[in-house]
């Protein structure tokens, strides 16, 4: 066969046959749901397009001028028009409900999800595992374990997309966004930045390595930097002088941070809010916007002094204060087990205050 056509063309054709992707792999627990909606949408599209095509073709043949020289004038038909208003409307409403259910499935992480931080910058993805594994443009995850990503950008808009998992989320400068997935098949999958972010946008790509839990543990043990994010955070906490106020002594100027994560606190303006990653990050940067009731607004801003990575370390540290983070640091995280909150062993942190409680 090669003799009959040019070798270059032959090469090309062979390459085509081996590299021809037509449908992305279904590698997450969400993918089958997304694909089901996709096929439903294709189905109604084919029906709609088919209806139009059949009508137009049939009328064109049946009523062409040579066969039907005289047109019959018709005003319209309310019943017919109502039909082709209501049927598409019903189909679109089904699509709406179905799509909304899928949306909430993709953007509502289960409570036991393992959290991984992602910082986008021009033009790379920095992945930070709580256990201290740092990756660039690569993400190692265990399969059959819900993974929640907390995304932020340190410069422009980026978008974190894993087509094989059918998930995507914008990484926005100045605020955390989250997305979750659960990989179901071991493999290596594309990771793209899909939001145009400047010159090397097309090189802001990488791979997601979905691994069997054992392989993942081996990887995690071998790749850790030796310091968990919480440990880094603790050092940063000390070096920024945070513990001069947040030191859980009776005379402290700032709230006790142990077990503050996940609690409801009352703000100075009377509203209640849940302490989550975004709240912690915002209070470090814009303390005045989140004054907690009962404390003087004396906290300085750390805007410009802490990088996004540093903020993640701090947030992770404060989160881990809920439990004895020193015990469950790298070992537990590398095992892919989410840290259970609630345990408050003595020694590392003072007893928690009631939510919104006023300092003694």
């Amino acid at each position: 066969m090669q003799h009959f056509i040019s070798p270059v063309l032959w090469q090309f054709l062979v390459k085509w046959l081996t590299h021809f992707a037509i449908f992305p792999p279904e590698a997450s627990s969400i993918a089958p749901y997304a694909d089901a909606l996709y096929f439903f949408l294709i189905f109604i599209s084919v029906i709609g397009l088919g209806a139009v095509a059949i009508l137009v073709t049939w009328f064109s043949i049946r009523y062409r001028q040579s066969r039907n020289p005289v047109a019959t004038q018709i005003e319209g038909s309310t019943i017919l028009e109502a039909t082709w208003t209501i049927i598409p409307l019903i189909l679109f409403m089904i699509t709406f409900v179905w799509g909304a259910l899928l949306y909430f499935r993709i953007y509502s992480p289960p409570p036991n999800a393992m959290n991984i931080y992602v910082v986008g910058k021009q033009w790379m993805w920095k992945i930070e595992h709580p256990g201290g594994q740092h990756e660039i443009n690569a993400l190692h995850i265990p399969i059959n374990q819900p993974i929640q990503l907390t995304l932020i950008s340190q410069d422009v808009f980026h978008s974190f997309s894993v087509p094989a998992f059918r998930v995507k989320r914008e990484a926005i400068p100045g605020r955390y966004t989250t997305v979750w997935f659960e990989a179901t098949r071991p493999g290596v999958y594309h990771l793209f930045c899909t939001q145009y972010c400047g010159t090397l946008h097309s090189q802001m790509i990488g791979w997601v390595y979905a691994m069997k839990p054992d392989d993942y543990q081996a990887w995690a043990a071998g790749s850790t930097s030796g310091h968990s994010l919480a440990q880094n955070g603790e050092r940063l906490f000390a070096s920024l002088g945070c513990n001069s106020c947040h030191n859980s002594t009776p005379n402290a100027h700032g709230p006790n941070l142990a077990s503050v994560y996940g609690s409801h606190v009352q703000l100075a303006n009377g509203q209640y809010t849940t302490v989550d990653d975004a709240f912690l990050r915002d209070t470090i940067l814009n303390p005045t916007l989140h004054e907690v009731a009962g404390y003087a607004p004396i906290m300085p801003t750390y805007q410009g002094q802490v990088s996004e990575d540093g903020l993640i370390d701090l947030v992770e540290y404060i989160k881990r204060l809920n439990s004895n983070y020193r015990i469950d640091q790298t070992i537990d995280n590398s095992a892919g087990q989410p840290v259970q909150t609630g345990a408050t062993p003595a020694g590392t942190s003072a007893p928690p205050l009631a939510p919104g409680a006023v300092k003694p």
């Binding site: 940067l285 814009n286 303390p287 005045t288 916007l289 607004p297 004396i298 906290m299 300085p300 801003t301 805007q303």
Partner: protein, 247 residues
């Protein structure tokens, strides 16, 4: 079916040139149609302007909601007397403009010219006060991006001893207030400058007797524009100057 057959009939006998006033443009049927079209067009243009300022008001609303203390502190550095004076000037100028339109309607050239001159003077007065304020803000380092300093907001404002000084992170947000202040008042002043220039052109034409011959559409529509610019200020004044004055 025969009733349909007459389609392109004559609407009126072929019109003779001398039947129409000179200002009637050839593509209009009559003066009333021309005047209605011009007024309608002006209203549409004002709708466009509302959307133009609407984007700014939307931004203002969001940021004021987020950074209320900064907006209060920023507002307290403005000269309320200047704002009030300008509001008065503009309201009076709207009155003089309305009188000018009236003078054109009753075809009195003298009063028309006088009211127009008065409107120009008031408009220029407004711009002078505005320029004074901007200069003042420049001197006090309140221009975002160019010479902004949060110094003043981290200390107690002597004019408002009741105000607590802002924490540095909130004081930074006064920049947003000032950005919006300058963009909004700047856009408004730009409209004022365009307005005064247009009015000057109309004044020159009015001296030649242009608008006292029954053709008042330009004056009338300019009046609409002038009142619109006035109304924008009526919104800007409380939003920018009077935040928390009721407290």
């Amino acid at each position: 079916m025969d009733s349909h057959s007459i389609a392109a009939q004559t609407a009126e006998p072929a019109h003779l040139e001398h039947e129409h006033p000179a200002f009637l443009r050839h593509h209009f049927e009559n003066v009333a149609q021309q005047r209605e079209a011009a007024t309608f067009g002006m209203w549409l243009f004002l709708l466009t302007e509302i959307m133009f300022f609407g984007g700014l008001f939307c931004a203002y609303l969001i940021f004021r909601n987020w950074y209320y203390p900064a907006f209060v502190a920023g507002s307290h550095t403005l000269h309320i007397w200047a704002g009030t004076l300008n509001t008065t000037l503009l309201i009076i100028s709207s009155f003089t403009m309305a009188m000018a339109v009236h003078a054109a309607e009753v075809r009195h050239r003298g009063p028309l010219l006088r009211w127009m001159v008065l409107t120009i003077v008031l408009g220029c007065g407004f711009l002078c006060v505005k320029a004074y304020e901007w200069h003042d803000e420049w001197v006090n380092h309140h221009v975002p991006g160019l010479n902004f300093s949060i110094q003043e907001f981290t200390h107690t404002n002597p004019a408002y001893p009741g105000d607590k000084p802002l924490a540095p992170d909130m004081a930074e947000k006064t920049q947003i207030y000032y950005s919006l202040y300058f963009v909004m008042t700047g856009m408004h002043a730009l409209h004022m400058i365009i307005g005064v220039s247009l009015l000057a052109i109309l004044l020159i034409r009015a001296r030649g007797g242009a608008f006292t011959n029954g053709h008042i559409a330009p004056v009338e529509n300019f009046g609409l524009y002038w009142h619109f610019v006035d109304i924008v200020w009526i919104f800007l004044f409380p939003l920018l100057y009077l935040i928390s004055r009721h407290q």
